[in-house]
Symmetry: C2
């Protein structure tokens, strides 16, 4: 097997985040699911936008955020995702390419527009996401760069994108391509509601041994395994995936790989400004160590350092030099 | 004269800022005029965007930023400016309305698109602006809400918008409407290059007594008066406008009104993150005091407090509660 061109290639939603601070009372008034991610149709997005305060637009998308972290950490990355031919599509495309990530999926003409995620950030730093998936859900299997997938050490997939039909088919095909090329497949479950809808699919993929690295948070672990007890959840999954990574918000994270189990606490932060992208950047840090063959402990620490950086400012794309932060922490 | 509905109505460019940090070396490499504002055509904007790092989109426009500050300070405001029917136009419209500002200028169909300003922010916090004026320069006189202008205590005009022909005619008409209704006209010179091109116009308006409150910075003062010496510049203008406000960056600001002259130092800030909007928010603070009939000293201090807030974070729209900051400072 030749040395792959990319460290990580990811398939994910191509989203521009629309972020605004808000009081707790607005979350209640609008009956939003605080801390979660809900889907909106075009009318719902228009109505909710009206209820939002002055905002900032910052490129987002879970797997795209992870790649932005990985690229910042020096990894070679490529992204596959669907934008529309519009200004927000131009913004997403600019930002991901400017981060040094290859992105060649052709923009899609006509309606719907590029995906937007309306994110309300409360004073406690929690983010409440409301996504209009728009063009993102029409990623066709034909848009896959199969050569690029074969040429990446890791294929990283975002559970969010399992919901719409076309990208789900695209991801299934991508897994086949990666596995037959002897590459690793990493998967993030993304959100409990995705597991509610597609848990059987996810469990089948895990049982079939298609997932090499599985990222879940403690809530998704419970939903995926049906076990309310954290340790019981870990036990239910740890022998089914070569590497299991479970994040626990402010309680840090654990990873299990075969007989090895390691844990890290959350890294300290001065103030939690906005938790958007915490899991995405944890995955970035972890994978950046993994592709370098670092110890499981170091991979987790890298994840914690990157998550701490992203929650210290608005937006889910890194603003600091993550390589420098990691070097400072790991010495 | 009845109590006006608005404290301030402004006519200005309707711009979305595209902001990215950059090293000093990039400013040199791209041969940008550091600290200034340059105009771009569509091709120039596309090329420069490619050279920019990952960015954030935040609504901007000089007079619109001033109104956002004024509204944050509790003033009743209305904005007149031209966006296109596109996503960035929706963003601008959303943000200004969400700030509590009335904005009813109909969006313009077809090309060009909504104005964008590509802003490079160097590690010293200085901003280098490159503007594609797009739809903004096609604000027609017919778009003026003359009733709203008659119903505002102050008409605030942005020198930047004097450059394109249609808005210049619109502003001339707006001045006539405001003056015949007995309202005050405030004017910001905006940038030395505007004075280079339209200084004769500006001087004629000042000589004719059409401007009640004039905002300039020390560089614009020199360009407008032809006096390199600061005091000579002040002397040349102070008897021609009822209120003259001159900002001097980190050296604070002065105001002269008739026989009264007051000065304030710049307010201290922990770190200058991004100077974009410093002058705009200084004007907001000053006008917020002026419309309440506060002392010249208090008006200047309000300006300094608002300028300090805006340079402590990215973007030219206020993020803190300016009323609380002003109350804390003035007691």
């Amino acid at each position: 097997m030749t040395e792959p061109r990319y460290d990580v290639i990811a398939i994910g939603n191509a989203i521009v985040d629309v972020m605004a601070p808000c009081e707790e009372s607005l979350i209640e008034e609008l009956q939003l699911a605080k801390g979660g991610m809900s889907l909106l149709d075009a009318d719902g997005a228009r109505d909710l936008y009206k209820a939002m305060g002055p905002a900032k637009e910052i490129s987002g998308g879970s797997a795209a955020n992870t790649l932005a972290g990985l690229a910042n950490l020096g990894a070679q990355c490529a992204f596959i995702g669907q934008v529309a031919k519009d200004q927000l599509g131009d913004v997403f495309t600019h930002d991901i390419r400017a981060a040094g990530i290859d992105f060649d999926t052709p923009a899609r003409g006509g309606e719907p527009s590029t995906a937007r995620c309306l994110i309300f950030v409360t004073p406690d730093g929690e983010r409440t996401m409301n996504t209009f998936l728009g063009a993102s859900q029409f990623l066709p299997p034909a848009a896959l760069s199969e050569d690029a997938i074969r040429d990446a050490a890791v294929l990283y997939l975002e559970g969010y994108l399992w919901d719409p039909e076309e990208p789900r088919s695209a991801m299934r095909r991508a897994i086949e391509v990666a596995r037959s090329a002897g590459r690793k497949v990493a998967f993030t479950a993304s959100e409990s509601f995705v597991i509610d809808r597609h848990g059987d699919d996810f469990r089948a993929m895990i049982d079939e041994g298609l997932i090499d690295i599985l990222f879940v948070n403690h809530l998704e672990l419970a939903t995926l395994t049906g076990e309310d007890d954290f340790e019981a959840g870990v036990d239910a999954l740890k022998d089914k995936v070569p590497t299991l990574v479970v994040t626990r918000s402010s309680d840090g994270a654990i990873a299990v790989s075969g007989a090895e189990r390691v844990e890290v606490p959350a890294e300290p932060v001065d103030a939690v400004v906005d938790t958007t992208g915490a899991g995405d950047l944890f995955a970035a840090g972890f994978l950046s160590g993994h592709v370098k063959g670092e110890s499981l402990q170091n991979c987790l620490t890298r994840g914690a350092v990157c998550a701490a950086e992203i929650i210290s400012h608005y937006g889910a794309r890194p603003e600091a030099d993550l390589q420098a932060l990691v070097a400072k922490r790991l010495g």
